[in-house]
Symmetry: C3
Subunit: 393 residues, 3 copies
């Protein structure tokens, strides 16, 4: 601001200030195409076949997935070095191999080596002289995971939310969907404190429950995870010069606030023993490379914002209930009848709408955006796996 301005001019200029760019967060600004050297969930395990490959894209890299003869998922660079055709358009003729559809170049799934060129006969001089890059791949919690990076990967279990490493029993429901928009805006929206109460007040998922009008929070960091912790909650407010505002209606239930560290506005029912045992610090938490965890009393909802490329994101929304037997099947029923369209459809569709609307930077942040600021600082590192500095909590 110009020093020769009057106080009134300064106040006016400040009001109409377009806001800040992201230059205070250079690592964040640079991560437009995604963070490498991480594991990403990319596909339902039940959709991966041995006879036919599947093609995906993560962090701008084209990757082909297929099961080997033992049923283990394998991932190769999805580009035949001959003429650039995607191997994922091809098929399997022999176990542990995939053949390009154009001329039958045939690669070993395990090491990416060219084993045969069908149209060049058994003595082809290309064999073992060409290869495609392989990517580490794993199957966990019903999902196929791929490690996008160059060096030796850290174990997938080190990166998984700890309660998913070895749960004694569980059931999984969810939705995987490619969506337009920057993965960072999806992640910010997910951990954003402010919007949930206001934007989602009209979601069918919350139709019977009052949403708070506003609250005060702080962020706690535990290992790789950031937690939003609520300090004060207000069900209504009276805005000076305007009047009262509340989401309360006669037909809505006002959920009790739970005691202790554990969760906030999460509705009735008994808390699941396994979830309780995790002793999570807050209702919502987030970690790199873009994993959101929302801890409801009876299930935990995860959102993985997998960067496909600049401006395209694979939304992997997974809801896990730590039960078994008949309760597991009742959960699946509830998922299909209610959660799938209410939560992973309508509710998450509102987030999608806002990500498409968001036109930042520039931006002017307010008190609840402390959640965004802390999240952006994570990008600066140190990074728990690559920088070998701190351990996962």
């Amino acid at each position: 601001m110009n020093k020769s301005m009057t106080l009134e001019e300064k106040a006016h200029a400040k009001k109409y200030d377009p806001g800040r760019d992201w230059s205070a967060f250079p690592e964040y600004e640079a991560a437009k195409q995604g963070l490498r050297d991480y594991w990403y969930p990319v596909l339902w395990a039940r959709e991966l076949e041995a006879k036919k490959p599947t093609g995906i894209k993560v962090c701008g890299e084209k990757i082909m997935l297929q099961r080997d003869a033992e049923g283990k998922p394998r991932a190769l660079h999805d580009r035949c070095p001959h003429r650039g055709v995607r191997l994922s358009q091809g098929k399997q003729w022999w176990p542990d191999t995939v053949s390009c559809p154009y001329h039958g170049w045939t690669f070993n799934l395990k090491d990416g080596e060219l084993k045969a060129v069908i149209t060049d006969g058994p003595d082809s001089r290309m064999c073992n002289k060409a290869a495609v890059k392989t990517y580490p791949a794993e199957e966990r919690i019903g999902l196929i995971w791929v490690y996008v990076g160059d060096g030796e990967p850290h174990p997938l279990k080190d990166q998984l939310p700890k309660e998913l490493v070895d749960p004694p029993k569980y059931a999984v429901g969810g939705r995987i969907e490619d969506r337009g928009g920057d993965w960072r805006l999806y992640a910010e929206n997910g951990f954003d404190e402010g919007h949930a109460k206001y934007l989602h007040r009209t979601s069918i998922w919350r139709i019977m429950k009052v949403m708070p009008t506003w609250n005060k929070i702080h962020i706690e960091k535990e290992g790789r995870w950031l937690y939003r912790v609520e300090d004060e909650r207000y069900w209504e407010a009276d805005y000076p010069g305007l009047g009262k505002w509340t989401n309360d209606r006669w037909f809505k239930i006002k959920p009790k606030q739970r005691q202790g560290k554990f969760m906030g506005n999460t509705g009735g029912g008994k808390t699941n023993a396994y979830i309780k045992k995790q002793n999570l610090t807050g209702f919502a938490s987030i970690s790199l490379p873009g994993v959101l965890r929302i801890a409801y009393p009876n299930f935990i909802h995860y959102e993985f914002y997998v960067p496909i490329d600049v401006d395209e994101t694979k939304y992997v929304g997974v809801m896990i209930q730590f039960k078994t037997g008949i309760k597991k099947w009742l959960y699946y029923l509830q998922y299909l009848l209610q959660i799938r369209w209410m939560f992973h459809g309508n509710f998450s569709g509102q987030d999608h709408w806002m990500v498409e609307e968001t036109n930042a930077p520039p931006e002017r942040l307010y008190r609840p955006d402390v959640s965004l600021l802390e999240w952006r600082k994570l990008f600066k590192g140190p990074h728990p796996f690559h920088d070998k500095i701190e351990e996962d909590a």
Copy 2:
């Protein structure tokens, strides 16, 4: 042209000359995104609500429109400074305000000031510290008008065609439609003398009337307006080496040419007294920032070519009859049954087709293009409102 060319070579080069660019009209060339500091009609008044905002774009600027508590139209920059979401996606909770759909940032419609942030409680520190730009807005002749500029606006009535400032009685019909294409090409096409007779000969609007084959015109300037004035008219012509051409058919009526200054090829019927009183210099006239007026005996047709952005134009076609009572309602009936699809549909669709086909510059202009040349010179100024030099006629 190279001086060492033979005469024959020179004639050949001239024939195949691709034509001129627009560098002779630098102000015109620079106006690709529209002219600022003007009023633009952007919406039917009946479509503007108080509870729900409407979003538009003029001259590349996103603008939100909504009625205040007194019913007056208000216009704000359509971008919440928080995260860039369009306010036009939000709604009104309190009179004279609009709230962003994402986090409930709530702005005063009258001055653009941030009055409340719903999700930050009554004591939010942002209040009165942020604001969005406001735009002057008015309601006239059934349309909402917005002033796109930075300084104090000139009165809308100074810019209106004078017969619309305070007509004793009138009825309005019309069509507003966003169309692909440069607004300048729409305006040129509108005032272009040459095409009407030839391109529109096949329009349903003209199916029963002969169109002249060619004519001679000159342009007269009166205040802010340019008029096309016809000097000679020919219903047919015999082209050397080719033969006769006419639009005359046995079932078509050849309209009488009217006497005096007033209009040309406009068909039968008694001239409306109010229109006659205007004593317009010609059938077709145009003024900045892109307003075409076609004076038929019983109604006047206006086309406003509102620049949305580079290569997108809001076509605002309005037909006004200066009558009242039963004649007004008969006019509305005629509008709905005939004019709407014949004129604002089929006829104006031919113009749309040609604007999309036009691929100029380069261009080679011919005699009737004096209308285009005079129009382009207007852009050079002086501009009647901003340059305070000449008065409106």
Copy 3:
């Protein structure tokens, strides 16, 4: 490769080498938009009218086609010099002319001269002072051909496959279709030895016939044409470490290999006398500017890859049988019932799929790609017509 690498590191680097770009073929690399100074087939002769023009694009140039009063095809630059509207959107009022739809500028089809401007009267000063470029155009073998170039064209018959210059009797069937993709990739795919046997093994056209597994070939050059000549053919192969592969099935016929110079894997039946007389050196041959010839025993299939523009190609697939009388009509019946959808639809659709998948350069070529390498060398010249060095065979 770095000299200080170990042998193992070198082997590894070589395996993962992304491959070569096209800098070894600079003339080929430069031909992205097509080769000028050639004749191109662009339209079925039966589709060209005298009353209404047709617009096409070749080598990035917009061209308008129309028949003159004698029925001869004429081609003009498809752009009215007045305002850039396509003349192909207009119509014919007088024989040997075309008029622009916007203002009636009327051009002579034979020399491109402006003969009249309808809206400017018989004395228009523009007449004979403006003109559009003409292109040489011809009608041959049921197709309209246009010469895209600047100088005097070579005779079309010099560029035609010699057997099409003056065939005593023939019948033509085919498909013309605009397709996305670089014309060079279509041409390469057409002459590519390797893919036919593998990619097309699943085509309906080949469903009853065994395709060889692999073969060895060499390329012979005769005048302007390159021929693929087969040296060895294998119906199956046993790939080390993988196993056997063959396209042979109990219901498929294994065609006999023909003796002498003439064709290879082309199925049964008696060879057509006229085709036999041509004494073609191989089954598949190609010539500039992108003409593929596949000589079956009873008909010859041609593919002309006409460059529309960068990344768009007009596929002109023509099948010609050298018969007459009842056999000609039986051929037309077979074409409509079988060839049209099997060959020019399904089979050629597989090629289209691969051209869209091809993502080269970089590329790593293998033994059968000798066909591609020889084809690319043709671009270097000398060019038979323009460089006046060698004669057509």
